[in-house]
Amino acid sequence: MVTKSEEDQLNRLETQVDNGGGGAWEYLCLVRKLKVRRPDKVLKHGLAILNDFKKRSALGTEEWTLCEQVAIAAMDCHSLDVAKDCIEVLRKRFPDSKRVGRLEGMLLEAKGLWAEAEKAYSNFLEDNPFDQVIHKRRAAVAKAQGNISTAIEYLNKYLDTFMADHDAWRELAEIYISLQMYKQAAFCYEELILSQPTNPLYHLAYADVLYTIGGLENLQAAKKYYASTINLTGGKNRRALFGVCLCTSAIGQLSKGRNKDDKDSPELQSLAVAALEKDYKQRAPNKLPLLTSALKSLRVSS
Protein backbone atom coordinates (compact mmCIF):
# COMPACT_ATOMS: atom_id res chain seq x y z
CA MET A 1 0.00 0.00 0.00
CA VAL A 2 1.32 3.39 -0.90
CA THR A 3 1.48 5.90 1.92
CA LYS A 4 0.21 9.42 1.58
CA SER A 5 3.66 11.03 1.56
CA GLU A 6 4.86 8.67 -1.13
CA GLU A 7 1.76 9.39 -3.17
CA ASP A 8 2.35 13.11 -2.87
CA GLN A 9 5.94 12.72 -3.92
CA LEU A 10 4.91 10.63 -6.88
CA ASN A 11 2.35 13.16 -8.05
CA ARG A 12 4.78 15.99 -7.63
CA LEU A 13 7.44 14.25 -9.67
CA GLU A 14 4.87 13.34 -12.27
CA THR A 15 3.76 16.93 -12.81
CA GLN A 16 7.35 18.07 -12.80
CA VAL A 17 8.37 15.60 -15.45
CA ASP A 18 5.30 16.22 -17.56
CA ASN A 19 5.94 19.91 -17.70
CA GLY A 20 9.42 19.50 -19.03
CA GLY A 21 11.43 19.72 -15.83
CA GLY A 22 14.10 17.11 -15.20
CA GLY A 23 13.83 14.21 -12.82
CA ALA A 24 12.50 11.58 -15.20
CA TRP A 25 14.87 8.97 -13.82
CA GLU A 26 13.82 9.58 -10.19
CA TYR A 27 10.20 9.36 -11.26
CA LEU A 28 10.80 6.02 -12.94
CA CYS A 29 12.72 4.70 -9.93
CA LEU A 30 9.89 5.74 -7.61
CA VAL A 31 7.30 4.10 -9.83
CA ARG A 32 9.34 0.93 -9.81
CA LYS A 33 9.79 0.98 -6.06
CA LEU A 34 6.14 1.60 -5.26
CA LYS A 35 4.95 -0.82 -7.94
CA VAL A 36 2.26 1.54 -9.18
CA ARG A 37 0.87 1.16 -12.64
CA ARG A 38 1.49 4.19 -14.86
CA PRO A 39 2.24 2.64 -18.21
CA ASP A 40 1.74 5.63 -20.48
CA LYS A 41 4.01 7.94 -18.53
CA VAL A 42 6.65 5.28 -17.99
CA LEU A 43 6.62 4.49 -21.67
CA LYS A 44 6.94 8.10 -22.75
CA HIS A 45 9.70 9.11 -20.38
CA GLY A 46 11.48 5.78 -20.41
CA LEU A 47 11.71 5.75 -24.17
CA ALA A 48 12.99 9.32 -24.12
CA ILE A 49 15.84 8.22 -21.90
CA LEU A 50 16.57 5.04 -23.81
CA ASN A 51 16.66 6.71 -27.19
CA ASP A 52 18.98 9.43 -26.03
CA PHE A 53 22.38 7.81 -26.16
CA LYS A 54 24.03 10.18 -23.71
CA LYS A 55 21.43 9.74 -21.00
CA ARG A 56 21.42 6.05 -21.60
CA SER A 57 25.12 5.56 -21.03
CA ALA A 58 24.87 7.75 -17.97
CA LEU A 59 22.71 5.09 -16.39
CA GLY A 60 25.32 2.36 -16.53
CA THR A 61 24.01 -0.98 -15.38
CA GLU A 62 20.64 0.47 -14.47
CA GLU A 63 19.95 0.70 -18.18
CA TRP A 64 18.73 -2.91 -18.26
CA THR A 65 16.30 -2.46 -15.39
CA LEU A 66 14.92 0.54 -17.22
CA CYS A 67 14.65 -1.56 -20.39
CA GLU A 68 12.62 -4.15 -18.52
CA GLN A 69 10.37 -1.50 -17.01
CA VAL A 70 9.76 0.12 -20.39
CA ALA A 71 9.06 -3.28 -21.98
CA ILE A 72 6.36 -4.01 -19.42
CA ALA A 73 4.85 -0.54 -19.80
CA ALA A 74 4.85 -0.94 -23.59
CA MET A 75 2.97 -4.21 -23.28
CA ASP A 76 0.48 -2.48 -21.02
CA CYS A 77 -0.08 0.19 -23.66
CA HIS A 78 -0.15 -2.43 -26.40
CA SER A 79 2.88 -0.97 -28.23
CA LEU A 80 4.07 -4.43 -29.00
CA ASP A 81 6.89 -3.38 -31.35
CA VAL A 82 8.50 -1.23 -28.71
CA ALA A 83 8.20 -4.11 -26.27
CA LYS A 84 9.67 -6.54 -28.77
CA ASP A 85 12.65 -4.24 -29.41
CA CYS A 86 13.36 -3.84 -25.72
CA ILE A 87 13.15 -7.58 -25.15
CA GLU A 88 15.49 -8.28 -28.04
CA VAL A 89 18.04 -5.89 -26.64
CA LEU A 90 17.78 -7.57 -23.26
CA ARG A 91 18.02 -11.02 -24.79
CA LYS A 92 21.19 -10.09 -26.62
CA ARG A 93 22.71 -8.86 -23.41
CA PHE A 94 21.51 -11.68 -21.13
CA PRO A 95 21.11 -14.73 -23.34
CA ASP A 96 20.26 -17.28 -20.68
CA SER A 97 18.25 -15.25 -18.34
CA LYS A 98 15.01 -16.44 -16.78
CA ARG A 99 13.93 -12.86 -16.25
CA VAL A 100 14.12 -12.17 -19.98
CA GLY A 101 12.29 -15.42 -20.62
CA ARG A 102 9.55 -14.20 -18.35
CA LEU A 103 9.29 -11.01 -20.39
CA GLU A 104 9.05 -13.04 -23.57
CA GLY A 105 6.22 -15.04 -22.04
CA MET A 106 4.46 -11.79 -21.16
CA LEU A 107 4.89 -10.62 -24.74
CA LEU A 108 3.18 -13.78 -25.97
CA GLU A 109 0.40 -13.05 -23.55
CA ALA A 110 0.09 -9.49 -24.79
CA LYS A 111 -0.13 -10.71 -28.36
CA GLY A 112 -2.98 -12.98 -27.39
CA LEU A 113 -1.18 -16.26 -28.07
CA TRP A 114 -2.48 -17.93 -24.95
CA ALA A 115 -1.42 -21.48 -25.68
CA GLU A 116 2.21 -20.55 -26.35
CA ALA A 117 2.33 -18.34 -23.29
CA GLU A 118 0.89 -21.12 -21.17
CA LYS A 119 3.45 -23.58 -22.54
CA ALA A 120 6.32 -21.17 -21.92
CA TYR A 121 5.22 -20.57 -18.35
CA SER A 122 4.81 -24.27 -17.63
CA ASN A 123 8.35 -24.86 -18.88
CA PHE A 124 9.66 -22.20 -16.56
CA LEU A 125 7.80 -23.66 -13.65
CA GLU A 126 9.34 -27.07 -14.28
CA ASP A 127 12.80 -25.57 -13.98
CA ASN A 128 12.02 -23.51 -10.98
CA PRO A 129 8.83 -24.33 -9.13
CA PHE A 130 9.33 -21.45 -6.73
CA ASP A 131 9.04 -18.54 -9.07
CA GLN A 132 6.08 -16.67 -7.62
CA VAL A 133 5.66 -14.23 -10.48
CA ILE A 134 5.33 -16.97 -13.08
CA HIS A 135 2.73 -18.81 -11.04
CA LYS A 136 0.68 -15.67 -10.92
CA ARG A 137 1.11 -14.97 -14.61
CA ARG A 138 -0.17 -18.42 -15.41
CA ALA A 139 -3.30 -17.73 -13.42
CA ALA A 140 -3.62 -14.40 -15.25
CA VAL A 141 -3.44 -16.20 -18.61
CA ALA A 142 -6.19 -18.56 -17.55
CA LYS A 143 -8.33 -15.66 -16.39
CA ALA A 144 -7.78 -13.71 -19.60
CA GLN A 145 -8.87 -16.68 -21.63
CA GLY A 146 -12.08 -16.72 -19.70
CA ASN A 147 -11.16 -19.98 -18.02
CA ILE A 148 -12.10 -18.79 -14.57
CA SER A 149 -12.26 -22.17 -12.91
CA THR A 150 -8.73 -23.00 -14.08
CA ALA A 151 -7.61 -19.63 -12.78
CA ILE A 152 -9.16 -20.41 -9.41
CA GLU A 153 -7.47 -23.79 -9.39
CA TYR A 154 -4.06 -22.28 -10.18
CA LEU A 155 -4.47 -19.60 -7.56
CA ASN A 156 -5.53 -22.10 -4.94
CA LYS A 157 -2.54 -24.30 -5.65
CA TYR A 158 -0.28 -21.27 -5.51
CA LEU A 159 -1.76 -20.13 -2.23
CA ASP A 160 -1.33 -23.61 -0.81
CA THR A 161 2.41 -23.06 -0.86
CA PHE A 162 2.74 -19.30 -0.72
CA MET A 163 0.02 -18.44 1.67
CA ALA A 164 1.42 -15.14 2.80
CA ASP A 165 0.95 -13.41 -0.55
CA HIS A 166 -1.85 -10.95 0.00
CA ASP A 167 -2.09 -9.81 -3.61
CA ALA A 168 -3.05 -13.33 -4.58
CA TRP A 169 -5.71 -13.48 -1.86
CA ARG A 170 -7.14 -10.24 -3.15
CA GLU A 171 -7.29 -11.48 -6.72
CA LEU A 172 -8.94 -14.69 -5.57
CA ALA A 173 -11.51 -12.74 -3.58
CA GLU A 174 -12.42 -10.63 -6.59
CA ILE A 175 -12.73 -13.71 -8.78
CA TYR A 176 -15.03 -15.35 -6.26
CA ILE A 177 -17.20 -12.26 -6.11
CA SER A 178 -17.49 -12.24 -9.88
CA LEU A 179 -18.69 -15.83 -9.64
CA GLN A 180 -21.03 -14.99 -6.75
CA MET A 181 -19.27 -17.48 -4.47
CA TYR A 182 -19.63 -15.12 -1.56
CA LYS A 183 -18.69 -17.40 1.30
CA GLN A 184 -15.34 -18.16 -0.26
CA ALA A 185 -14.83 -14.48 -0.98
CA ALA A 186 -15.55 -13.74 2.67
CA PHE A 187 -12.85 -16.20 3.67
CA CYS A 188 -10.33 -14.49 1.41
CA TYR A 189 -11.18 -11.09 2.78
CA GLU A 190 -10.75 -12.40 6.31
CA GLU A 191 -7.24 -13.49 5.34
CA LEU A 192 -6.57 -10.01 4.03
CA ILE A 193 -7.88 -8.37 7.17
CA LEU A 194 -5.64 -10.67 9.21
CA SER A 195 -2.56 -9.67 7.29
CA GLN A 196 -3.33 -5.92 7.21
CA PRO A 197 -5.85 -5.13 9.89
CA THR A 198 -5.54 -1.37 9.58
CA ASN A 199 -6.40 -1.16 5.91
CA PRO A 200 -9.95 0.19 5.63
CA LEU A 201 -10.48 -1.12 2.09
CA TYR A 202 -10.48 -4.70 3.23
CA HIS A 203 -12.95 -4.00 6.03
CA LEU A 204 -15.19 -2.27 3.51
CA ALA A 205 -15.04 -5.08 1.00
CA TYR A 206 -15.65 -7.67 3.71
CA ALA A 207 -18.65 -5.71 4.96
CA ASP A 208 -20.01 -5.56 1.39
CA VAL A 209 -19.69 -9.31 1.03
CA LEU A 210 -21.34 -9.97 4.38
CA TYR A 211 -24.20 -7.62 3.52
CA THR A 212 -24.67 -9.43 0.23
CA ILE A 213 -24.78 -12.85 1.83
CA GLY A 214 -27.51 -11.59 4.13
CA GLY A 215 -29.02 -13.10 7.24
CA LEU A 216 -29.34 -11.35 10.56
CA GLU A 217 -25.98 -12.32 11.98
CA ASN A 218 -24.12 -11.38 8.83
CA LEU A 219 -25.94 -8.07 8.64
CA GLN A 220 -24.98 -7.23 12.18
CA ALA A 221 -21.37 -8.18 11.46
CA ALA A 222 -21.48 -6.11 8.29
CA LYS A 223 -22.69 -3.11 10.23
CA LYS A 224 -19.80 -3.53 12.62
CA TYR A 225 -17.30 -3.69 9.80
CA TYR A 226 -18.75 -0.61 8.13
CA ALA A 227 -18.37 1.09 11.48
CA SER A 228 -14.74 0.05 11.71
CA THR A 229 -14.17 1.43 8.22
CA ILE A 230 -15.65 4.71 9.34
CA ASN A 231 -13.32 4.54 12.28
CA LEU A 232 -10.26 3.90 10.18
CA THR A 233 -11.04 6.60 7.66
CA GLY A 234 -12.25 9.21 10.11
CA GLY A 235 -15.76 9.24 8.74
CA LYS A 236 -14.76 10.28 5.26
CA ASN A 237 -15.71 7.11 3.43
CA ARG A 238 -19.15 7.71 1.94
CA ARG A 239 -19.66 4.12 0.99
CA ALA A 240 -19.25 3.01 4.57
CA LEU A 241 -21.76 5.63 5.68
CA PHE A 242 -24.28 4.40 3.13
CA GLY A 243 -23.49 0.87 4.20
CA VAL A 244 -24.32 1.66 7.78
CA CYS A 245 -27.69 3.14 6.82
CA LEU A 246 -28.59 0.19 4.63
CA CYS A 247 -27.51 -2.35 7.21
CA THR A 248 -29.46 -0.74 10.00
CA SER A 249 -32.63 -0.59 7.96
CA ALA A 250 -32.19 -4.18 6.79
CA ILE A 251 -31.63 -5.36 10.36
CA GLY A 252 -34.67 -3.41 11.43
CA GLN A 253 -36.73 -5.11 8.76
CA LEU A 254 -35.55 -8.56 9.70
CA SER A 255 -36.01 -8.17 13.40
CA LYS A 256 -39.33 -6.39 13.24
CA GLY A 257 -41.38 -7.39 16.19
CA ARG A 258 -38.47 -9.01 17.97
CA ASN A 259 -36.74 -6.68 20.32
CA LYS A 260 -33.43 -8.33 19.81
CA ASP A 261 -31.97 -5.28 18.23
CA ASP A 262 -28.52 -4.62 19.62
CA LYS A 263 -28.47 -1.51 21.69
CA ASP A 264 -24.82 -1.01 21.04
CA SER A 265 -25.15 1.87 18.70
CA PRO A 266 -28.63 3.32 18.55
CA GLU A 267 -27.56 6.59 17.10
CA LEU A 268 -25.19 5.26 14.48
CA GLN A 269 -27.67 5.41 11.67
CA SER A 270 -28.90 8.91 12.40
CA LEU A 271 -25.32 10.09 12.75
CA ALA A 272 -24.37 8.49 9.47
CA VAL A 273 -27.33 10.14 7.78
CA ALA A 274 -26.35 13.49 9.21
CA ALA A 275 -22.75 13.05 8.06
CA LEU A 276 -23.90 12.12 4.58
CA GLU A 277 -26.18 15.13 4.32
CA LYS A 278 -23.42 17.42 5.43
CA ASP A 279 -21.06 15.93 2.89
CA TYR A 280 -23.51 16.25 0.04
CA LYS A 281 -24.34 19.81 1.01
CA GLN A 282 -20.67 20.64 0.70
CA ARG A 283 -19.84 18.83 -2.48
CA ALA A 284 -22.95 18.24 -4.55
CA PRO A 285 -25.76 20.41 -3.25
CA ASN A 286 -27.92 19.81 -6.27
CA LYS A 287 -28.04 16.10 -5.49
CA LEU A 288 -29.13 16.69 -1.92
CA PRO A 289 -32.86 16.20 -2.54
CA LEU A 290 -32.13 12.80 -4.14
CA LEU A 291 -30.19 11.81 -1.08
CA THR A 292 -32.80 12.89 1.40
CA SER A 293 -35.60 11.09 -0.39
CA ALA A 294 -33.56 7.89 -0.64
CA LEU A 295 -32.61 8.02 3.00
CA LYS A 296 -36.15 8.80 4.06
CA SER A 297 -37.38 5.60 2.46
CA LEU A 298 -34.72 3.73 4.41
CA ARG A 299 -35.57 5.41 7.64
CA VAL A 300 -39.23 4.66 7.31
CA SER A 301 -38.67 0.95 7.22
CA SER A 302 -36.16 0.91 10.08
Partner: protein, 246 residues
Amino acid sequence: MAEDLVLDTAIRDWVLIPLSVVMVLIGVLRYFVSKLMRSAQLPDAKIVKEGQVIVRARNLRAAANFIPLKSFRARRFYYSNEENGLLFVPKGQAQNAQAQMFSDPNMAMDMMKKNLSMIIPQTLTFAWVNFFFSGFVAAKIPFPLTQRFRAMLQNGIDLSTVDVSYVSSRSWYFLNLFGLRGLFSLILGEENATDDTQRMMQMTGFGFDPTRSLGAEKDGLDIVQHDWTMPKFERRAESVLRKLVR
Protein backbone atom coordinates in the same frame (compact mmCIF):
# COMPACT_ATOMS: atom_id res chain seq x y z
CA MET B 1 56.87 1.57 36.93
CA ALA B 2 54.35 4.36 36.87
CA GLU B 3 56.32 6.20 34.28
CA ASP B 4 54.95 6.21 30.80
CA LEU B 5 56.76 4.57 28.01
CA VAL B 6 57.09 6.73 24.98
CA LEU B 7 56.26 4.75 21.88
CA ASP B 8 57.79 5.55 18.56
CA THR B 9 55.35 7.10 16.09
CA ALA B 10 56.83 4.80 13.53
CA ILE B 11 54.92 2.04 15.25
CA ARG B 12 51.69 3.78 14.50
CA ASP B 13 52.63 4.34 10.88
CA TRP B 14 54.02 0.93 10.15
CA VAL B 15 52.10 -1.41 12.41
CA LEU B 16 48.71 -0.22 13.48
CA ILE B 17 47.53 1.39 10.29
CA PRO B 18 48.84 -1.25 7.85
CA LEU B 19 47.36 -4.00 9.98
CA SER B 20 43.92 -2.42 9.95
CA VAL B 21 44.10 -1.72 6.23
CA VAL B 22 45.14 -5.29 5.51
CA MET B 23 42.28 -6.66 7.56
CA VAL B 24 39.73 -4.49 5.80
CA LEU B 25 41.05 -5.56 2.43
CA ILE B 26 41.01 -9.21 3.36
CA GLY B 27 37.46 -8.85 4.58
CA VAL B 28 36.35 -7.29 1.30
CA LEU B 29 38.15 -10.01 -0.63
CA ARG B 30 36.43 -12.69 1.39
CA TYR B 31 33.06 -11.13 0.75
CA PHE B 32 33.50 -11.22 -2.99
CA VAL B 33 34.96 -14.71 -3.00
CA SER B 34 32.07 -15.99 -0.94
CA LYS B 35 29.64 -14.37 -3.35
CA LEU B 36 31.31 -16.18 -6.22
CA MET B 37 31.44 -19.50 -4.47
CA ARG B 38 27.91 -19.45 -3.24
CA SER B 39 26.01 -22.08 -5.15
CA ALA B 40 22.45 -21.25 -6.10
CA GLN B 41 20.69 -23.15 -3.40
CA LEU B 42 17.36 -24.44 -4.57
CA PRO B 43 14.87 -23.82 -1.81
CA ASP B 44 13.21 -26.90 -0.49
CA ALA B 45 9.47 -27.00 -1.07
CA LYS B 46 8.71 -27.99 2.47
CA ILE B 47 10.79 -25.23 3.98
CA VAL B 48 9.25 -22.54 1.81
CA LYS B 49 5.78 -23.68 2.66
CA GLU B 50 6.58 -23.83 6.35
CA GLY B 51 7.98 -20.34 6.27
CA GLN B 52 4.81 -19.04 4.72
CA VAL B 53 2.63 -20.99 7.13
CA ILE B 54 4.47 -19.40 10.00
CA VAL B 55 3.86 -15.93 8.60
CA ARG B 56 0.18 -16.66 8.15
CA ALA B 57 -0.18 -18.15 11.61
CA ARG B 58 1.58 -15.17 13.11
CA ASN B 59 -0.80 -12.83 11.33
CA LEU B 60 -3.68 -14.83 12.71
CA ARG B 61 -2.38 -14.46 16.21
CA ALA B 62 -1.72 -10.77 15.85
CA ALA B 63 -5.01 -9.75 14.29
CA ALA B 64 -7.27 -12.42 15.74
CA ASN B 65 -9.56 -9.87 17.26
CA PHE B 66 -10.54 -8.41 13.93
CA ILE B 67 -12.36 -11.40 12.53
CA PRO B 68 -15.53 -12.99 13.83
CA LEU B 69 -15.27 -15.71 16.43
CA LYS B 70 -16.45 -18.52 14.19
CA SER B 71 -13.85 -17.78 11.53
CA PHE B 72 -11.12 -17.54 14.12
CA ARG B 73 -12.08 -20.88 15.61
CA ALA B 74 -12.25 -22.50 12.20
CA ARG B 75 -8.79 -21.25 11.37
CA ARG B 76 -7.34 -22.29 14.70
CA PHE B 77 -8.70 -25.77 14.22
CA TYR B 78 -7.26 -25.84 10.73
CA TYR B 79 -3.84 -25.05 12.09
CA SER B 80 -3.61 -27.13 15.22
CA ASN B 81 -5.72 -30.09 14.27
CA GLU B 82 -4.31 -33.37 15.48
CA GLU B 83 -4.23 -35.26 12.26
CA ASN B 84 -3.54 -32.89 9.46
CA GLY B 85 -3.24 -29.47 11.03
CA LEU B 86 -0.68 -27.29 9.36
CA LEU B 87 1.26 -26.56 12.48
CA PHE B 88 1.08 -29.94 14.04
CA VAL B 89 4.31 -31.88 14.02
CA PRO B 90 4.46 -35.42 15.39
CA LYS B 91 7.18 -35.88 17.98
CA GLY B 92 9.31 -38.23 15.93
CA GLN B 93 9.93 -35.75 13.16
CA ALA B 94 11.15 -33.02 15.43
CA GLN B 95 14.46 -34.74 16.08
CA ASN B 96 15.02 -35.56 12.47
CA ALA B 97 15.79 -32.14 11.24
CA GLN B 98 19.18 -31.91 12.89
CA ALA B 99 20.35 -35.31 11.79
CA GLN B 100 19.05 -34.58 8.34
CA MET B 101 21.01 -31.42 8.18
CA PHE B 102 24.27 -33.21 8.76
CA SER B 103 23.63 -36.05 6.41
CA ASP B 104 22.36 -33.94 3.55
CA PRO B 105 25.42 -33.70 1.30
CA ASN B 106 24.59 -30.33 -0.16
CA MET B 107 24.14 -28.67 3.12
CA ALA B 108 27.25 -30.27 4.55
CA MET B 109 29.31 -28.98 1.64
CA ASP B 110 27.82 -25.54 2.10
CA MET B 111 28.65 -25.49 5.77
CA MET B 112 32.17 -26.63 5.11
CA LYS B 113 32.70 -23.99 2.47
CA LYS B 114 31.47 -21.30 4.79
CA ASN B 115 33.64 -22.55 7.61
CA LEU B 116 36.71 -22.72 5.41
CA SER B 117 36.19 -19.24 4.10
CA MET B 118 36.16 -18.06 7.65
CA ILE B 119 38.98 -20.10 9.14
CA ILE B 120 41.67 -19.91 6.48
CA PRO B 121 42.03 -16.13 6.20
CA GLN B 122 41.90 -15.82 9.97
CA THR B 123 44.66 -18.37 10.42
CA LEU B 124 46.81 -16.89 7.71
CA THR B 125 46.46 -13.36 9.00
CA PHE B 126 47.20 -14.45 12.52
CA ALA B 127 50.34 -16.27 11.44
CA TRP B 128 51.43 -13.24 9.45
CA VAL B 129 50.92 -10.94 12.41
CA ASN B 130 52.83 -13.24 14.65
CA PHE B 131 55.71 -13.57 12.29
CA PHE B 132 56.18 -9.96 11.39
CA PHE B 133 54.81 -7.97 14.24
CA SER B 134 55.94 -9.69 17.34
CA GLY B 135 58.46 -8.85 19.97
CA PHE B 136 57.63 -5.21 20.59
CA VAL B 137 55.08 -3.07 22.26
CA ALA B 138 52.50 -1.86 19.79
CA ALA B 139 50.03 0.20 21.71
CA LYS B 140 48.86 1.31 25.11
CA ILE B 141 45.38 0.56 26.28
CA PRO B 142 43.90 3.66 27.92
CA PHE B 143 42.58 1.91 31.04
CA PRO B 144 44.48 -0.13 33.60
CA LEU B 145 44.27 -3.89 33.63
CA THR B 146 45.07 -6.64 36.05
CA GLN B 147 48.05 -8.96 35.81
CA ARG B 148 45.91 -11.79 34.54
CA PHE B 149 45.71 -10.27 31.12
CA ARG B 150 49.45 -10.32 30.71
CA ALA B 151 49.58 -13.71 29.12
CA MET B 152 46.85 -12.84 26.69
CA LEU B 153 47.84 -9.39 25.59
CA GLN B 154 51.60 -9.27 25.89
CA ASN B 155 52.48 -12.42 24.17
CA GLY B 156 55.63 -11.40 22.34
CA ILE B 157 56.95 -9.17 25.04
CA ASP B 158 59.09 -11.17 27.43
CA LEU B 159 59.53 -8.51 30.09
CA SER B 160 57.48 -9.07 33.16
CA THR B 161 57.82 -5.56 34.49
CA VAL B 162 56.14 -3.73 31.70
CA ASP B 163 52.71 -2.41 32.61
CA VAL B 164 49.94 -4.64 31.34
CA SER B 165 48.40 -1.76 29.48
CA TYR B 166 51.16 -1.95 26.95
CA VAL B 167 50.10 -4.61 24.52
CA SER B 168 51.54 -6.41 21.57
CA SER B 169 50.24 -6.26 18.05
CA ARG B 170 48.45 -9.55 18.46
CA SER B 171 45.88 -7.88 20.66
CA TRP B 172 45.50 -5.14 18.05
CA TYR B 173 44.73 -7.91 15.57
CA PHE B 174 41.99 -9.30 17.79
CA LEU B 175 40.61 -5.86 18.42
CA ASN B 176 40.34 -5.31 14.71
CA LEU B 177 38.84 -8.71 14.14
CA PHE B 178 35.87 -7.98 16.32
CA GLY B 179 35.65 -4.28 15.75
CA LEU B 180 35.64 -4.14 11.97
CA ARG B 181 32.31 -5.91 11.83
CA GLY B 182 30.50 -2.59 12.05
CA LEU B 183 32.65 -1.11 9.34
CA PHE B 184 31.97 -4.04 7.05
CA SER B 185 28.25 -3.78 7.50
CA LEU B 186 28.52 -0.16 6.41
CA ILE B 187 30.56 -0.67 3.29
CA LEU B 188 29.39 -4.08 2.22
CA GLY B 189 25.73 -3.92 3.09
CA GLU B 190 23.91 -6.12 5.51
CA GLU B 191 24.74 -9.62 4.44
CA ASN B 192 28.47 -10.11 4.48
CA ALA B 193 30.50 -13.20 5.05
CA THR B 194 32.74 -11.42 7.50
CA ASP B 195 30.25 -11.77 10.29
CA ASP B 196 32.43 -14.30 12.02
CA THR B 197 31.32 -13.66 15.52
CA GLN B 198 27.69 -13.92 14.56
CA ARG B 199 28.31 -17.10 12.70
CA MET B 200 30.24 -18.54 15.62
CA MET B 201 27.33 -17.81 17.87
CA GLN B 202 24.96 -19.37 15.39
CA MET B 203 27.03 -22.52 15.17
CA THR B 204 26.86 -23.16 18.87
CA GLY B 205 23.09 -22.93 18.87
CA PHE B 206 22.71 -25.05 15.81
CA GLY B 207 19.59 -26.40 14.28
CA PHE B 208 17.48 -23.95 12.37
CA ASP B 209 14.50 -26.05 13.12
CA PRO B 210 11.45 -25.07 11.20
CA THR B 211 9.66 -27.72 13.21
CA ARG B 212 10.53 -25.96 16.40
CA SER B 213 9.14 -22.64 15.23
CA LEU B 214 6.00 -24.39 14.04
CA GLY B 215 5.54 -25.86 17.47
CA ALA B 216 6.08 -22.45 19.03
CA GLU B 217 3.49 -20.89 16.76
CA LYS B 218 1.01 -23.60 17.58
CA ASP B 219 1.43 -23.04 21.29
CA GLY B 220 1.05 -19.33 20.83
CA LEU B 221 -2.09 -19.85 18.84
CA ASP B 222 -3.58 -22.17 21.43
CA ILE B 223 -3.38 -19.60 24.16
CA VAL B 224 -4.96 -16.75 22.23
CA GLN B 225 -8.23 -15.56 23.72
CA HIS B 226 -10.53 -14.17 21.13
CA ASP B 227 -12.09 -10.83 21.96
CA TRP B 228 -13.96 -9.41 19.04
CA THR B 229 -13.14 -5.73 18.78
CA MET B 230 -15.90 -4.90 16.35
CA PRO B 231 -18.54 -3.81 18.91
CA LYS B 232 -15.99 -1.42 20.34
CA PHE B 233 -15.41 -0.05 16.88
CA GLU B 234 -19.08 0.55 16.45
CA ARG B 235 -19.19 2.75 19.48
CA ARG B 236 -16.04 4.53 18.45
CA ALA B 237 -17.46 5.15 15.00
CA GLU B 238 -20.43 6.82 16.64
CA SER B 239 -18.20 9.28 18.43
CA VAL B 240 -16.17 9.89 15.27
CA LEU B 241 -19.30 10.72 13.34
CA ARG B 242 -20.64 12.85 16.14
CA LYS B 243 -17.51 14.95 16.02
CA LEU B 244 -17.72 15.15 12.27
CA VAL B 245 -21.31 16.26 12.17
CA ARG B 246 -20.93 18.89 14.82
